[in-house]
């Protein structure tokens, strides 16, 4: 029995545990794990969908470029939640350990653990790409904030009416008594 077949057989189990592990990083994780409707549960739904895609790509040894869409699906969410950068990315690493544990628990496939080098290397590449994406998301967040300020909605709080501004200028230009 070769590794490719082992991955095929255990795909669902590995992905399920990976999703479970990732969603455990949320305080109220039971709902995120249980609800399968993508629109009722966007965090759980997107992470489940993306990890499933990502696993197939990792097994295939796909290039980093192909991994970007599912990684973005996950990191776009985790980068704006209250995680540190390492916490946002760390669950991706878990698939290495989950796969090892599952294979090791199977007597017939235990020997395949030693053949996981390529798979684990692919995970490493995914994690490196994930850091780049994390930063891109943070930058987009700040760009969004700047854009909002530029379009004038900030005027709602920071505005002064023109006549008031005028008045302030006049007042500013009057020398204070103590400085004369």
């Amino acid at each position: 029995m070769d590794l490719a077949e082992a991955f095929r057989n255990y795909k669902d189990k590995i992905v399920d545990q990976w999703v479970d592990y990732t969603l455990s990083t949320y305080q109220a994780s039971s709902f995120f794990k249980k609800e399968r409707d993508m629109f009722a549960n966007p965090v759980g739904g997107n992470i489940r969908e993306a990890l499933k895609k990502l696993f197939s790509l990792l097994v295939k040894g796909a290039g980093t470029e192909q991994m970007i869409p599912p990684l973005e699906q996950i990191l776009k969410i985790r980068s704006i939640q209250e995680f540190s950068p390492s916490q946002a990315v760390a669950p991706l690493n878990a698939v290495k350990h989950i796969t090892r544990e599952i294979l090791a628990a199977d007597k017939e496939r235990r020997h395949l653990v030693s053949e996981l080098y390529d798979f684990e290397f692919a995970v490493d590449l995914a994690i490196l790409a994930a850091f780049d994406i994390y930063m891109q998301c943070r930058e987009r967040l700040y760009q969004t904030r700047i854009q909002e300020i530029k379009t004038g909605t900030h005027i709602l709080t920071d505005s002064r009416c023109p006549s008031s501004l005028q008045k302030n200028k006049v007042q500013d230009s009057i020398p204070k008594v103590e400085s004369i």
Partner: protein, 542 residues
Amino acid sequence: MAVPKLEQLSKSVVQGPSLATGAIPTRDWMDIPVHFKEGNYAYPAKKEKVEYLDSQKGLSFPNARIWSPEDDDWKLPEDWKEIILNGLKERLGKFRSLKIFMDCCVRCGACADKCHFFLGTGDPKNMPVMRAELLRSIYRNDFTLAGKLLGRMAGAREMTVGVLKEWFMYAYQCTECRRCSVFCPYGIDTAEITIILRELLHLVGVGINWILEPVSNSNRTGNHMGLQPHTYKDNVEFLADDIENLTGVRINPPFNKKGAEVLFITPSADVFAEPGLYTAMGYLILFEAIGLDYTWSTYASEGGNFGLFTNNESMKKLNAKMYAEAKRLGVKWILGGECGHMWRVLHQYMDTMNGPADFLEVPKSPITGTVFDNTASTKMVHISEFTADLIKHGKLKLDKSRNSHVKATFHDSCNPARAMGLLDEPRYILDHVVDWVEMPENTIREQTFCCGSGTGLNTDEIMELRMRSGLPRANAVKYVHEKHDVNMLSCVCAIDRATLTSLMDYWNPGVRVCGISELVGNALVLEGETRGELDDGLRTLL
């Protein structure tokens, strides 16, 4: 170096600081303190704004000071606890709904997973039932026998500074959108719990600037932006200039015209900020096309009412302004623009606060003769009701192909959808002016997901929080964007137009945001126009 084991990895991920609280998530919720840091709270109100509001007749905003949620000491008044408990007592007596909401929740959890803040953060205190529990625990402790006798066993706890800080954190992580209320078998309006929490916090001087400055501006000049009459008039006239450049038709908008049949009131953001400007251009084109005898007002120059997010006294005062102006101008009825919470105030509170508006007539469309009986008491008609009626009677010449650059979807703005039942009129209009598709069923109509930044939370310092709470809405837009190439998110709310734009910039670049009236303005054929090919409708730069 050894490869870390899964458990060690978990330790760094799962047992790290929890979301929003910074605490280890293994303790009872009552024992987890809130932790304020840059990005998870909106800035407190400026001292001078609070002082100004406190000086105004009929309003009370005590304890103006400079303070920060990040400081241990919030500089509360010495007798703050007494003030809060007396305030709660007074409101339990005054608002029967509050008393019922405090007593009747059976904690069934139907609301728990319906909140966009919960769905975006995974923080249990953002479950509506838990948010209400923050107040209910104090109610039990001081106002129920079981709570007095059994204390914590009965879910009661004493009011402390920590509880007050928790209220501030979570009362400002609720947009009063009322999606949870749709699912509550007892009909508890959780938005009203948030309203009360915010009212109580104002009693001790705890409020945010993004809300109190617009309230103060509205009280002073009539609109959130603080625009004075001449500026407001100029801005509307600039829009008329743009329309002339684009269509060749000169519109001269009437202002403060006594004896006009209709007073038109819309959010000031429509005449000042993108993309609301294009919606306002749509209004102007529509009124010109039908020859409506109407007027803008430079005093009732704001549909929005941030008083709703503050306390009932401010809400009442700001709402009254619209009716005072209608009376002064001697109009027959009021037409309201695409605003969100203005309609919640109108439909659910106006009548008991300032109504009924007996001096006005039951609105009747001068073009179609339709009588809007549904507004018999408030005398105020929504622009979408009005426009849909015009289309139904064939009074508008519409060229749908002028919106061929748009593939739209429709976001039911929370308040018009859930607080006034405006569900079908915008859809009827869209059918006639643009090619559009619906988002998934559990994200529209009564079940619509909030933009995530309503109730005065549309401030840029909490952008991360807004992106989290807007995730459920953005996720549904992403679906239609990818599946149907949707490039425009239409809505009927000014806060939506501002905040969904940012939400799309982050989650779904390539999707723009517009008001329904903008799409109407694009499609409407004006008499005598010399409109060329406008490949971006009213947004086309010439």
